[in-house]
Amino acid sequence: MTWELLSETLRLEHYNTRLVVFGVAFLGATAGLVGSFLLLRKQSLLGDALSHATLPGIGIAFAVMAAMGLSGKSLPGLLIGATITGLLGVLLVLAIRKTTRLKDDAAMGIVLSVFFGLGVAILKMVERIPGQSAAGLDGFIYGKTASMIWSDFVLIAIILLITIIVTIAILKELTLLCFDADFSSAQGWPTLWLDIILMALVTAVTVIGLQAVGLILVIAFLITPPTAARFWTNRLGWMLFLSATIGAISGWLGVSISALYSNLPAGAIIVIAAAIIFLFSMIFGTARGVLPRYFRHLQLQRKVGRQHLLRSTYEILENTQNGEPLKNLPISMDLLRKHRYWGKGELPRLIRQGRSEDHVERQPSGELRLSESGFGEASRITRNHRLWELYLIKYADIAPTHVDRDADMVEHLLGAEIVHQLEAELDLSKPTIDSPHAIEPTEHELQTRPTTKIPPP
């Protein structure tokens, strides 16, 4: 591979490359858009059954056209045949679902494999038709991207345009159908027709995708982009846009790479490109990706841990002193260790963290002392915690709808605004509040208490 070739490919200098790249990118955008709804309607397997069921149609269409004395390889004819048996496959799945008690996956598995097997057999048979060459028909199985011509491109562009128009026009109807079909139907929307429109779009994408990526891989083109997009957003509009974009990028990447290495099949590379984007999204996706979720969790855990350390220290100070105002005195590690349950290695880690944030400092004697800022922070955290407890005790009947986690977690999510609101509602605005439940020192603590008890001056 030379640099000229690379730059030629990327800059789309060849007419043919340009045609194929744009064609497949448009196809990817269409598939991403339609696939989003297919996925949300939980019918992705139906798309798979549909694509596999197109194969016998191709073989039969070839035979019929040959028998009529036409060229067996006229593309529109083949695609019409593919559409007919594809839809037949879908109808069969629906019929099996309705008349027997078979589960969806079983019904689809049967139809998918039977139609595909039938298709393979028919392709073998039509090879023997005299005067016609069936060679190349199996290109529909794995796709033959490079053979795309201008009319194919136009067809793809038209389908993309139709898909965009339909999606924009009936976005709310389709959304309602996918989210809650029963409610949609009770409201009088023709759910059957909406499903048919959706299936028609899926069929159109599948059939025009046959040539480019092949019937085995076209389902990946429909499903991978929306699944990847979902990791980045919780909003449907964005998901549709991202899914279409990811589809288009996969198509562009796949075609470009296969143009560089001419022995690589484009269909497979397109799907691999989509899978790589999917993997990337799964790990880094901002809305539901694994890493951002892990970091959010870690962040919360750190925050919670820090607050536990500061609050425990503050409570120990309260327990060991009688006079007001509370003085910031060093406390023994032993007391801290016994004050609450700490996980293995948790306390040393929290203290390290607290020291780096300049909230606690070690005394030469090994005791722990809050820094000036740590003392203020500890007093604030303890106060918030108690406000929250009071709130729960007083307003237990309304609280559950305003909180998502149990009390110990929510405390760490309280913002300044809620704290003000709590103060107003509880009529408590003094800087420190006594804990509504007595912080009972254990017997053990009572025994150890005198060791750190500082005699009042």
Binding site: T175, F179, D180, D182, F183, Q187, I398, T401, H402
Partner: protein, 259 residues
């Protein structure tokens, strides 16, 4: 119009039979629900409670019989009924916000192809306000608690401004505060003369929540004002041999005296 099902009834069910795979789920159901009642549909698991609601809403085919809404088939009266499906019937991972779900209640009035505008969103927000969770409007629905999700469903029914409310187990697996909020809402609807029909499974609260009762076990065992219908005899007929439930029944009957 048959005399036994006069058109002033919000819901009149005549001779309704529903069967799945030849196995009947509902059998010759006869029912008149009077206007302005807060009616509970009670019965054991598999008694066909949800099926009754769905059959009335044409969501599943009737094997025979009819359900009339103010004397006319449901397809001519869709604006009159708001439906709250079971919470588990939808995928709460769906990429939409609480406000989006509630806005769905306005789609029918909005009609085909029309875009959602500020006025629909405003209506939806007001409904969320009524169920006490307007501060969660922008939140993705999977980040709501079970009780909050149920409130979202209720809000979606409220924006429909219907005359009759069909609710499928609105109290299932919600927190105590939500249960209280829902019942207050139902009573408010009821006081405005709306009719509420509610699938319910907690016998202990039946007499407190509902003024009209439909005891269902494939057929209507009894229906009428709760004070007359909620009797030991009727409950035994409804729950039959399900002995483990009899204790619940006894407890529930004790509660009748108290409320």
């Amino acid at each position: 119009m048959r005399p036994e099902h006069p058109p002033e009834f919000p819901l009149a069910v005549h001779d309704l039979t529903v069967a799945y795979h030849r196995k009947p789920v509902l059998w010759d159901v006869e029912l008149n629900v009077p206007k302005g009642t807060l009616a509970g549909i009670v019965g054991p698991n598999g008694a066909g409670k949800s099926t009754l609601l769905k059959a009335c809403l044409d969501l599943i085919p009737k094997t025979s019989g009819e359900a009339l809404v103010y004397g006319k088939p449901y397809e001519h009266q869709r604006d009159l009924i708001a439906y709250v499906p079971q919470r588990e019937s939808v995928d709460w991972d769906f990429p939409i916000s609480a406000l989006d779900v509630v806005t769905m209640g306005t789609y029918r009035k909005l009609g085909w192809f029309k875009r959602i505008s500020r006025s629909q969103k405003q209506q939806a927000l007001e409904a969320l306000e009524k169920v006490g969770i307007s501060h969660l409007a922008k939140r993705q629905i999977s980040q709501l608690s079970g009780g909050q999700q149920q409130r979202v469903f209720l809000a979606r029914a409220l924006v429909q401004e219907a005359e009759i409310y069909f609710m499928d187990e609105p109290f299932a697996a919600v927190d105590a505060a939500t249960e209280q909020a829902i019942i207050e809402l139902l009573q408010e609807l009821n006081s405005k003369g709306k009719t509420v029909l509610c699938v319910h499974h907690d016998l202990a609260t039946v007499s407190r929540y509902f003024d009209y009762l439909v005891l269902l076990n494939m057929r209507v065992v009894a229906s009428g004002p709760t004070s007359e219908t909620f009797t030991r005899e009727n409950l035994q007929k409804t729950y039959g041999g399900k002995l483990n439930l009899l204790d619940d029944v006894a407890q529930a009957l004790k509660n009748v005296g108290r409320s």
